[in-house]
Subunit: 348 residues, 2 copies
DNA sequence: CTGTTAGCGCCTTCAA
DNA sequence: TTGAAGGCGCTAACAG
């Protein structure tokens, strides 16, 4: 089904049909009958414009690329992608998705393949290394950085989770509910030397420390680890309990550590939240199924994806004219919403 | 950078450059020097062919569509998509991803949008309703069904998890390791009335029953539920324990039920696997972090995605000529591999 | 061995 | 108000 077939069926020229179908008929005063005939023919023949052709002609494809460095294990990636797809779809865009597993070569290939297909722009996302250089391939087209802090100084539109605020919120929640003896699980007490991967550890810690300072609290202990996994949470919390220190609350840097914490607590007969409160980050799938339900700040995967796609489409539709012209754009920060469940007691 | 610019730079005609760059130069005996000059110019100018143009001309885009009905909560979807993308990429294809959340209208729109962009084919996947009708939109292009049994009788290429075999494997594992008093958690004892959503329950049950029959075993109890979630697992296993029945092993229909089972067991001080073995399906992210690690048959998400993309590309490259011609294709069954951890004891 | 020509499907002046 | 013509970038016959 091509436009000229529709035109023929309607008894008009292809250009006329084009105008009608593009909604510019009134503007150019095409006769009502002609319009009717065209629309009718199009419907009857099930006409759908060939996007390749339109793209070739107009230089725009209503197509986005989404490239992330995620690997099999990361549950986070999936939701981000889906958020992006959802937003894009709502605005009439389709998205190509690619994954690099951290392979720079693959990333280049992917970006090339998308560029070849004339995507209108790409979002570059990361699940692993949060601070990194941006490949030159990306600079050929409008680009939005998702969950990445660029190491170079070019002015990219960035979308990031507001980890600092989440850290602060967590600390405030604990302090406000009367917890005094707080232990940090998964990070030391110095933001500068926090977790080598990702900015999450350092930023969550920074936010928390600010609030602790403001309220005159002291952290009892802060235990770093490189792997944020249940066995590590188990180990660290066992250490805390063995140390004989008093503990009102455990602030775990993510849910997997918290899962390990639950196991260690349970094994020693320490009750959550009656004896010890547990607060965490991410809202991983199992958080609500732990007993008692884990109170946690949800990593806003889907919202991040949505925001990235929206920023990108804004950028595209605003026109590439503006690129690099204006003042450095502030990062778009997405909050981590609290999922209030049953693991934090009120001790006031 | 267009082909004609490269050709001009190399001092040849565009068609010559085209042939050289398409690798058909030797075949058509283009002089070595001309080839050299073309390749050189292309490299120097950073030439990349416009895929839109090529697609328009050749009628093929090396682009796939992937449409699934998954919703936010399903972790399964993400991995399937990624498997598909991975396979596609390896064969030079890019993929458009879309999600419908079960909305038939959205599905139509998505399929249309992909069709408009001239995808070479689509995979239609489902996470929810495993038996369903296929929308007519799909029939305009090569289609592979992933995790779907079509209710109409058209002859589609299908990729499915081998749930029956997994059920049989699970039963055999239990029987072979000396378990006699086995309870089923999450499904009744009649495949015909099993779980309304999905084929998994009925098929896993069918496989298991076959083996139990072969080995002369009797199931002690089989408890159905509509929601395969931890609280239900907790409830059902509590019932089992309260009933006073003897129990060697719990065969849970998925990991979330098993998680609830662990909680119920733990609360009553029943040890896994010393007192009771637990076996399950899916290998959800937390399965390996439960204590003891949960032995389970992994739902092969990624492999399913890979298989679907591969089947689709085979279908496309074999040529649409064959469509509907041959005998009904057998479904491509993907096994559920066993993840042997510590929750099943050897009681022989 | 290489260049000319035509056309994939669409949009957009420009003339009529 | 409508139609004819040209071109987006590429490939494939067909001449030379």
């Amino acid at each position: 089904m091509t436009l000229s077939q529709v035109a023929k069926e309607a008894g008009v020229a292809a250009s006329t049909a084009s105008l009608v179908l593009a909604g510019r008929a009134d503007e150019l005063r095409i006769s009502a009958t002609a319009q009717e005939r065209v629309r009718d023919a199009a419907r009857r023949l099930g006409y759908r414009p060939n996007a390749l052709s339109t793209g070739l002609r107009t230089g725009t494809t209503r197509t986005l690329g989404f490239v992330s460095d995620s690997v099999a294990s990361s549950q986070l990636a999936g939701e981000m992608i889906r958020g992006a797809i959802e937003s894009a779809r709502a605005r009439g865009y389709m998205v190509f998705v690619g994954e690099t597993a951290g392979d720079a070569h693959l990333e280049r290939d992917l970006l090339d393949a998308m560029f070849d297909r004339q995507v209108d722009g790409v979002v570059l996302a990361t699940m692993m290394t949060h601070a990194r250089a941006i490949p030159v391939e990306a600079t050929r087209m409008p680009t939005v950085l998702l969950n990445i802090e660029p190491t170079d100084d070019a002015d990219y539109v960035r979308v990031l989770p507001d980890e600092v605020a989440a850290g602060a919120d967590a600390a405030r929640l604990l302090v406000d509910s009367g917890h005094r003896r707080i232990h940090l699980i998964g990070v030391g007490d110095d933001p500068a030397t926090a977790h080598p991967f990702g900015l999450a550890a350092a930023q969550r810690l920074r936010g928390a420390l600010t609030v602790f300072a403001e309220t005159g609290q002291q952290i009892v202990s802060a235990r770093p680890t490189v792997q944020w996994l249940p066995p590590e949470g188990f180990r660290l919390v066992s250490e805390v309990l063995d140390s004989g220190a008093e503990v009102d609350a455990l602030l775990c840097l993510n849910d997997r550590l918290a899962m390990g914490a639950y196991q260690a607590l349970q094994e020693r007969g320490v009750r959550v939240p009656d004896d010890v409160s547990v607060l965490s980050f991410d809202d991983t799938s199992f958080a609500r199924w732990l007993r008692p339900g884990l109170t946690t700040f949800a990593f806003p995967q889907r919202a991040l994806g949505r925001a990235a796609a929206d920023e990108l489409i804004d950028l595209i539709e605003r026109g590439a004219a503006t690129v690099g012209s204006s003042a450095p754009t502030a990062a778009h920060l997405v909050p981590l919403p609290l999922r209030l469940r049953a693991s934090v007691a009120d001790r006031t």
